[in-house]
Every structure is written in C-alpha cells, then in structure tokens.
Symmetry: D2
Subunit: 188 residues, 4 copies
C-alpha cells in the first residue's frame, strides 16, 4: 500500500524520460501505487500522500533550476514542514554533458529532501557496463543505453523496495532478499 | 532489538564528546543496543552488526580526515560492499571554527554512507535557540550550550527512532508520534 | 580600477546586512569601485561590468532560494555564457540556525559561479574567536559579534585584494603582503 | 615563469593517465614550467613552488581516497597554512562508473584547495560531444574518447592560462583572447 511520487521538472523532455523510467521501475514492486507528476501538476497533497519520492530536475548552471526550487520554497505557505519526517527519497538529473554538474545537482536535491526530514539513498547496483547511480540517477541528455535506462528503473524499483520493506513492513521486499543481479559480473 | 553503532574519530576529544552525547540520545529509545567505538576500536563486524550508524569525525582542511577515510577504504579487503544496503545513517563533526567546513564534512560522511547503501538523514528539529542539525550535528570546538548538546543527543535519538520504527517495526517509535517538543516556540 | 559587485537576495534583511559589511570591506582597498545591488536591482550589465563578485542569499530548505537562482537562470536569454570567464567570486549566506545549511548553500553558490567560469575562493583568515569563513561567509540570523561582522568585511576585502592583485596587476595588494593580522593569536 | 604542479594519486593508472594529459595541456602555454608528481613523489616544496595546481585522485566510496587526504593532512607538520593563499587550483578524478561520485570527489578536492586559500575553477568549454569538465575533469575508467582526453588537456591548459594571465601578468594568455574553439558548434 506504499505510495510513491515521482516529482520532476523537465525543460527539454530528457528528465521527463528519466521520470517515466523511474515510474516503471517502481511498479516492478507489487502493491506500490505510483504517481508521476511534473511540478506543474503536483500539489502539496501529493507530497503528503507519498511514502517515498524520486525527485528530478535538469541541471542548470550546476544546480537545481529555479522552477523546481520554487515548488519547494512555496511550501512555506503550507503547514507541512516539519511534519513530513520519515519518508524515503532519491534524486535524478539530466545535464547537457558529462561533467555538467548532474551529481552535484542530485546531492542538492538530496539536501532539500533531507531538510524536509526524508531518508535519502542512492543505488549500490551497477546496471550496465560502468553504469551506476550511487547518489542519484545521472544522465547527459536522454537515457539511451540499456544500462542508463536501467539505472533509472532500478532507482525507482529501489525506492519502492525501501517503501515496501520499511513502510509496509514487508521484509521480503528488501533488495538484499532479491534474486535479480545487482552487480552483474560483466559490469562491476 | 535494533543495534546502533556510533563510530567516530577524535583528535582533540571534541568529536568524542559529541559521540558520547549521541550515544546517550540513542539510549533514550527502549530496546536499542548502542556501541560507541572509535575507529581504532571498531571492526567490520561492528558495521555488519548495526542497523544504524552515526558517523563522526573532525573537519580537517574542509573534509574527512585521512584516518576516518582509511577505515572505510580498508573495507575493500572485506566482502561487505554491497551487502550492507538498507541500514540507516547520519553524521557529525566538530571543526575549529564557525564556517570551518563542518557541514561540508557531514555531507561527505553522508556520501560515504550513501555509497554503502545507507539511508541518510538529518534533524528537522531545533534543539536550542538558532540550533539545528539539518544535515548532521555540527559544532565548533566542543559542545557547550544546552542546545548544542541536545543537537547531538537528539540526532542519536532520531537514529534510534528510525531503527525502532523501520527495522524493529515499531511504528509508535516514529518521531512524529512523540510528545517531546521538536521545535519549541522559543527556538524556531 | 577593479570593479566589484556585491549581488544579494535578502528575505528578512539578514543577508542584506552581510552584503553591506562585505561592501564596506571591499572599499578598504584603494582604487576599487563597489556596487552593492539586490537581485531586484542588478542587471546583466552589472555582471559584465564587475571583475569580482560576492554572491549572497539566505539558505532556504538547505540551498539557494528560487529567486536568486532565477536571476542566474534568466541569463540564458543574454549572450553572456561562456564569455565571463576569469572573474573572481565568493559567496555568503545567512540561515535561521547553526547547522542550517549555510555552508552547503555557499558551496552551491560557488558552483554556480564556477559554472560561469569564475575563480572562487574563501577566507583562510580567522576574524574572531572560532570565527572563519573558509568557503564563504556563513551566519545564523544577522551578524552580531565583531568576528562575524569582520568575517563579512574581510571576505569583501579579500575579493578586492584578489581583483587588485590579479586584474589591476598590483602585486602589493596581495593579502600575504598585508600587515593586518589574518590569524590573531588569540583567535586561531 | 609560472609554475604548475599536477599532483595526483593513482590506484589503477586511470588517474595517472588523466594527470599526463593535464600536464601536456599545461605545456601548450609558453613559459610555463610543469611538474607532474604522484603523492609518493611530491613534497611540500613542490606545493610552495607552484603557482597553480591540478589535483587528482580516484573516487573511492564517493570521495577522496585516504592516501591523498593524508598527503594534505600531514602538511600540518609544516608551516605552510595559511601562507599559500592566492594560488590557482582545479581538480580531476576517475571513478569506476558513470554516476560513481567523481563530481562529488572533485568538489571535495576543490574544498581542500579552497581551505588552503586557492582560487578554484572548472572549464566552461565543451571539448567533445556532450563533454565538459565544469567542476573538474571527470572520467569513468581511463580517458578513451578524444573529447575526454581533451577535457583533461584543456583543464591543464586553462590552469596554465590563468597562471600566465594573473601571476605572470600576461593578459594575452587569457582564454577569452584565444582563437581555439572553446565550444565547437557541433559539441555544445
């Protein structure tokens, strides 16, 4: 019965593609309800509703774009902080280039989530040759390679696994209990 | 039956004082076992044993001191990564001055924990006038004021609450279910 | 003839107070022209004009407030990036509390500046007992203590010194050539 | 007569390859002397000698490896801090995978440099399709593509350009005065 919100801003469609993959991954876990919403669509009710969030935005000039930050800053008008503690969170970002700040952006998105009392995480998994998402799913442009797409999907899946394990109290959902390969020999 | 490890390096005793306060705070939660160990004392078995960790080190030249990093880097010799996923983690640091990098250090300690698959968090609480620990407990020198000491203790308590809530499946331990003031009116 | 821009956003007046102190400090160096402008006042021409910038904003939910980020994101409409390389930059922030993310915010402001090709720096100096500004000037609330005020002023002074030294080619302005105490014995 | 130190740690040879490319790039600028030294080879005298540094290390568990940090922490035994202010600095890192923390590591290396009073920078340039190095040169594994190799070389070149421009007072060395393409149309 865990609820997951994939909340994203997309300028060119790249981050939206990541969001779609993350939503698909979250749905791999039974009994999880997923809402994938842009910041234009999502309301504070969606934030309250969720037990876990995947938060994504393009990297603009090295960090979070103003529209995404405004979504969070505007929450000051609602009586939600600090009443959201204990939700689970992760982040994702597309930049225009390798080395474009997508990891830094993910850590800043994680910082916002920590400020709101979220428990944040990344993936230990490798999802393709030399492909990880240790602090969030990072991309230049749109996801193209299988391993890049799976990094997004796996991040959504992991979020769902943590919500299932810890919120729904289903220890069998713990990633260490799963049989799928988390670090295929030919990747790591 | 949740297990908490307070793992610290201390050069001058300041971070050790923070560790002691964090341990005390963790023990406020019934049914939690706490080990407070320096990096000279702790072994990989302590890391495996714990369900939650508070990781602390002085800030040296803006980030994690080499001895603390060596403790983690040396784990490469043990078959623990990536088999520790899903533990809970937080960080603490003392620097020589305000503006000395203690927040940056905490985020780097959090980064190490995320790399190992930990779910990391800070405090939303205010524990004294203008005293928070949103990304870890930060200090210049030793904790002196009540609010500084309580920031450490509360961080340990919060870690214990998350372990109790999520690992021990005791939803009544959730911080939002507690009656103690998390943001006293005269603080926030 | 070096030009310095102190560019700030202030919500409650605290960051504006820091900006005023930074401007004063910059004016300690002869031959430096200083503009102190809020984001409502500053235009892209001010950014082009300056050889050095001190960039400041409150810390909101752990990072840069949306209005400050919008100021930079909107530069996309102007043909300035990547034609600003080689200017000097530093940052400052006030948060509501100790541990409130002001250091993290400064590093994100520094990240924006680096993205635009700025050379960024902090202070090695101690400006009061246990008071530094190694990665930018950080504050909870308004500057009150002498050392806090001097951290702001010294940051502005240092910015002016770098601009004088490196842009105006006045090696005698280098901070290591100055006689004022950078680390008073009773501070460091 | 500007002096540049490329200071690196390499575990598997990948970061050493980056260091070699950075050294080559620095030598594109006339009148710059370059020393490329591993942390086993470099002494505090090399650090004093240089006007600019490129600092590189593998990404281990998301941040700086202990051996590199020890090199800096051990400087406490020498009377160098805070007498190095005003040098120029940048960073580089290789991780095992995309999303492996190499950007975070670069920012932590930059943080160490800032602590020592360095003025730090990245590249605005694009050096290949979707290839930048905005906060330092980042790599998974060894540099293979032309754009990856050029990101390293350009970073070294930029460091040399800043040292030539600002330390040697040769304004004609400023990157904005150069004729080589910094953002080829088919890259950016």
């Amino acid at each position: 019965m865990g609820n997951i919100l994939v909340l994203y801003q997309s300028n060119t469609g790249n981050t939206a593609q990541m969001a779609a993959l993350i939503s698909e991954g979250a749905q791999r876990v039974d009994g999880i309800e997923v809402r994938s919403l842009s910041i234009e669509e999502a309301t504070v009710e969606d934030l309250k509703w969720c037990h876990g969030i995947a938060l994504g935005a393009p990297t603009n000039f090295g960090t979070v774009p103003w529209k995404m930050k405004k979504w969070w800053d505007d929450l000051i008008e609602h009586d939600v902080w600090p009443h959201l503690d204990g939700k689970f969170g992760c982040s994702f970002s597309s930049a225009g280039s390798v080395g474009g700040g997508q990891e830094l952006n993910c850590m800043t998105l994680n910082t916002i989530l920590m400020n709101f009392g979220f428990l944040v995480f990344g993936l230990t998994d490798y999802t393709g040759p030399a492909q990880s998402a240790h602090y969030g799913a990072v991309q230049h442009g749109e996801p193209r390679k299988d391993g890049e797409k799976e990094a997004c999907a796996r991040l959504g899946q992991r979020l769902a696994e943590w919500v299932a394990t810890y919120v729904d109290q289903r220890p069998e959902a713990h990633p260490l209990q799963q049989s799928y390969p988390r670090l295929p020999d030919d990747y790591s």
